[in-house]
């Protein structure tokens, strides 16, 4: 394997060693416990803030490192190895999707209020787009923000929101003009404790169990005008812009997780014996591992290609969508194959693979489904 893939430099690899050390010491040993409990400690946000991991691509004036997206890519890949999809998701939602729009579209005052404390890990952020009646169809969102004197009054609800229950602020997609489709969308920030904003419930789910996924309800919730991100009506473009890094990060996380899952499968079949030899010695098993490695490498290369374009400043929407689809589906295939290679043990809670298998399944759904990725990819044919 060529170190760096012509993408990462020595400093990225040095940073990878740091992240790996953090993951191995502070996350991996607790992954199972947190997943079983359905929660990771809130203190982890602060710890990540302290380590400088929450502001890698944000300006120094807000407490970031301004080091660029490749460092964050390294962080995401390594978090994929932490053994808990929920921890990676909760922390990821903090430094990618919820703070991304603030960085890209926020005013200095908004960045001071929300971005800076989020970078320090003092405030937890969430991004609220999905609603009970609209997920894939972003233009069809129904939550409204009615302009009133000095602000907006919000009505509607959001669901499946990562960090939703514990968030101190939520960056919301709302209809400021319900008569329009995608042109009626805007983004606005709501703080915890604002009258009219309540957290419905913490949702139970198949995987990513350590992350909190919430349902948010807004009833005549009044938000000051200065909480609007950018201009009214720009929401759709803002969301689409933010999606690029979210999708790349899902692809990178899938690559990191698959790497770890494959290594686990190899280790298992080498020590498990059947018919008088190690399971790894059966040709069919060796070939299965070879296929898994090939699948992983192909997805990694496409992900790195999209990342290279993104890092170069391109809006590589097709490549990013392809990478998101391929890498997250690849991770499901690798997890499934690995579970099969574990035999009955793979179905047991005692082994990590059953958790990896559940965690991986979110990949082709969250941040835009594989079908929606295909819709985007097909656009290049004028379809």
């Amino acid at each position: 394997m060529q170190a760096g893939y012509g993408l990462y430099l020595e400093e990225h690899e040095a940073f990878r060693r740091t992240v790996r050390a953090v993951v191995d010491k502070e996350l991996r040993p607790f992954a199972r416990e947190w997943e079983d409990k359905g929660e990771f400690p809130l203190a982890l946000f602060r710890r990540f803030g302290e380590l400088g991991f929450l502001g890698l691509k944000y300006p120094e004036e807000y407490g970031g490192t301004n080091a660029g997206c490749l460092f964050e890519a390294v962080l995401i890949e390594e978090l994929g190895r932490c053994g808990s999809g929920g921890v990676a998701a909760g922390l990821g939602a903090q430094f990618t999707i919820s703070t991304g729009p603030l960085h890209l579209f926020g005013t200095d005052a908004q960045k001071k209020r929300f971005l800076a404390p989020a970078i320090r890990g003092e405030k937890v952020g969430a991004l609220g787009i999905t609603e009970p009646n609209a997920g894939s169809d972003v233009a069809g969102l129904q939550m409204t923000a009615k302009k009133v004197d000095g602000g907006y009054v919000l009505n509607g609800s959001k669901t499946y929101i990562t960090n939703g229950v514990r968030a101190d602020f939520v960056v919301l997609a709302v209809k400021t003009d319900p008569t329009k489709g995608h042109k009626g969308l805007s983004m606005i920030v709501v703080e915890k404790g604002t009258p009219g904003f309540s957290v419905g419930k913490k949702l139970e789910k198949l995987g990513w169990r350590a992350s909190d996924t919430g349902e948010l309800v807004f009833e005549d919730c009044r938000v000051p005008a200065e909480n609007l991100l950018g201009e009214e009506g720009q929401g759709f473009y803002q969301i689409m812009g933010n999606f690029q890094w979210e999708r790349l990060s899902l692809a990178l996380g899938a690559v990191g997780a698959a790497d770890d899952i494959l290594a686990g499968a190899v280790a298992y079949v080498k020590q498990r014996r059947a018919f008088g030899k190690a399971v790894a010695e059966f040709q069919v098993v060796k070939h299965r591992l070879a296929d898994m490695a090939t699948d992983l490498e192909a997805a990694r290369q496409l992900t790195y290609h999209a990342l290279r374009l993104h890092a170069g400043g391109e809006f590589a929407i097709s490549e990013t969508s392809m990478a998101k689809k391929l890498a997250t589906e690849m991770c499901c295939r690798i997890a499934d194959a690995s579970l099969q290679l574990h035999g009955g043990a793979g179905y047991m809670k005692e082994f990590d693979i059953e958790r990896h298998w559940r965690d991986a399944r979110l990949g082709p759904i969250g941040g835009g489904t594989s079908e929606i990725m295909n819709e985007i990819i097909a656009r290049q044919f004028g379809l």
């Binding site: 020595e10 400093e11 040095a14 940073f15 060693r17 740091t18 050390a21 953090v22 380590l51 400088g52 890698l56 490192t65 080091a67 460092f71």
Partner: protein
């Protein structure tokens, strides 16, 4: 205060170490490397001391070009500058100690902190040789009582306490059956044990800063040291595979077996 520390490049314990079939060494393919963990502890302790007694931490390593990776790691943790003794041939512990002696004589640090041993061949000799040849005081196995940095631990007297006039160092040492406290005149050589501290991570700003910190290149010839090994490894063998233990149902059976089979009771 000026402190010299070491950063040896060793095989990452996470990689699978296999002895070559002909017994001449270990299989190098596919191995990963890292800084000797005991050296990392030494670097950390030096950084903490320099935070109290301003000065510099100079990190040294002996080896080929690749040891620059470990030097950069120590620089990223916060060391001031690095000394790289470029040497690729075989070396024994006396060779390394002789090279470090020259580096120490050149740098004139107040204190040298090394790992008590390196995790590759676990010799535990360099610090002792170095102190002897320099004619300096030595305190090996600097340690602390608890293994983790709990609050109780933080409130304890640090294992390495330098006097306010930077003339002496008091070191808590881990010895068989307990702890011993010694006081040494500076300059001195201290070796770090596992429980001395928990090394910090190399932060991203640290990694970026390390890129432009100087690494001075020296050679054995330049230092006037003949490193021809006095010690040769004739054969390397993996330890014999241990037989699997047995499980006993209860304490009574255990005592019975210890009496009749193991014959230790």
């Amino acid at each position: 205060m000026k402190i010299l520390v070491t950063a040896k490049r060793v095989e990452d314990p996470e990689s699978k170490i296999k002895v070559k079939p002909d017994g001449t060494g270990i299989v190098l393919e596919g191995l990963k490397y890292k800084i000797n963990p005991f050296d990392e502890i030494a670097v950390e302790e030096a950084l903490r001391l320099v935070a109290k007694f301003p000065g510099e931490v100079v990190v040294a390593s002996v080896g080929g070009k690749e040891v620059q990776e470990q030097l950069r790691h120590a620089l990223a943790m916060g060391a001031t500058r690095a000394v790289w003794v470029n040497h690729t041939g075989p070396l024994d512990q006396m060779g390394i100690a002789a090279l470090l002696q020259k580096v120490a004589e050149k740098e004139k640090p107040d204190l040298v902190i090394l790992g008590k041993q390196s995790i590759d061949d676990d010799q535990n000799q360099i610090g002792q040789y170095l102190a002897e040849w320099l004619g300096w005081a030595q305190a090996t196995f600097a340690s602390k009582v608890e293994s983790f940095e709990s609050d109780a631990e933080k409130n304890k007297v640090p294992a390495l306490t330098v006097s306010a006039d930077v003339k002496t160092v008091r070191v808590v040492r881990e010895v068989d059956g307990g702890l011993a406290t010694v006081e040494c005149q500076l300059p001195a050589v201290v070796t770090a044990d596992l429980r001395l501290n928990m090394p910090r991570y190399a932060s991203l700003p640290g990694i970026m800063k390390a890129k432009s910190k100087p690494i001075e290149e020296l050679t054995p010839v330049g230092l006037g040291v003949d490193v021809t090994p006095k010690l040769t490894v004739t054969k390397m063998m993996a330890p014999p595979a241990r037989k699997a233990g047995i499980k006993v149902p209860d304490v009574a059976t255990l005592v019975q077996k210890l009496k009749t089979e193991a014959k230790v009771l």
